[in-house]
């Protein structure tokens, strides 16, 4: 496992994971926050505007994070 962790850290893929994970976390937080403020589920544009990215990038980050989570599961569990 140490080997695999080092490999994941060293070959640059972690850079992708980290930055996407961060964006995905921001999306989740912003989504919760806006839901509280509005008293309803936010639209994708409302979240995208707050994070200053395109709605399409919101979609991408969410899915990439979901994929990373499932890779993480198979590698570490």
């Amino acid at each position: 496992i140490g080997e695999i962790q080092r490999f994941l850290r060293d070959d640059g893929t972690v850079k992708v994971s980290r930055s996407i994970k961060e964006t995905a976390n921001h999306i989740r937080k912003m989504s919760d926050e806006l839901a509280k403020t509005f008293g309803r589920v936010p639209t994708i544009q409302e979240i995208a505007d707050k994070l200053d990215i395109s709605p399409e990038e919101v979609v991408f980050a969410q899915e990439a994070n979901r994929q990373l989570a499932s890779i993480h599961e198979t590698v570490y569990e």
Binding site: P42, T43, I44, P55, E56, F60, E63
Partner: protein
Amino acid sequence: MRNRMALSFTAVSANESFARVSVAAFVAQLDPTMDELTEIKTVVSEAVTNAIIHGYGENDEGIVYVEVELVDGTVHLVVRDEGLGISNLEEARQPLYTSKPELERSGMGFTIMENFMDDVSVESSRLEGTTVTLVKRLSKQNVLCN
């Protein structure tokens, strides 16, 4: 304005995620709620997985076709394969029915599609393939229209 896209890809499970992103990114233009988008992504997963697993039996020579049209705030989605087809459609659409219990599939694919979409129709013929047509009206557009 009508805005359309069409997508086709190799019938392998690895492409399920790509299909979800592609459809969701296209639909994002109509500014759906996050819940609506999740529902659409789930439906894409179910229909595309069916095409790959049941339609083509995971034969990676197969091609899955997806089309999306956005008309006045309504999403029209078509998922099509040229695979084995479904011999008994009524049975296939029953909740919990699955022809592959050994794969630990839930038999809930069609039921999920029906729950998340406003309209679901399925056409299929043996050895020619299956076309699933799905329609969803987005809530925001309803509000604007009322």
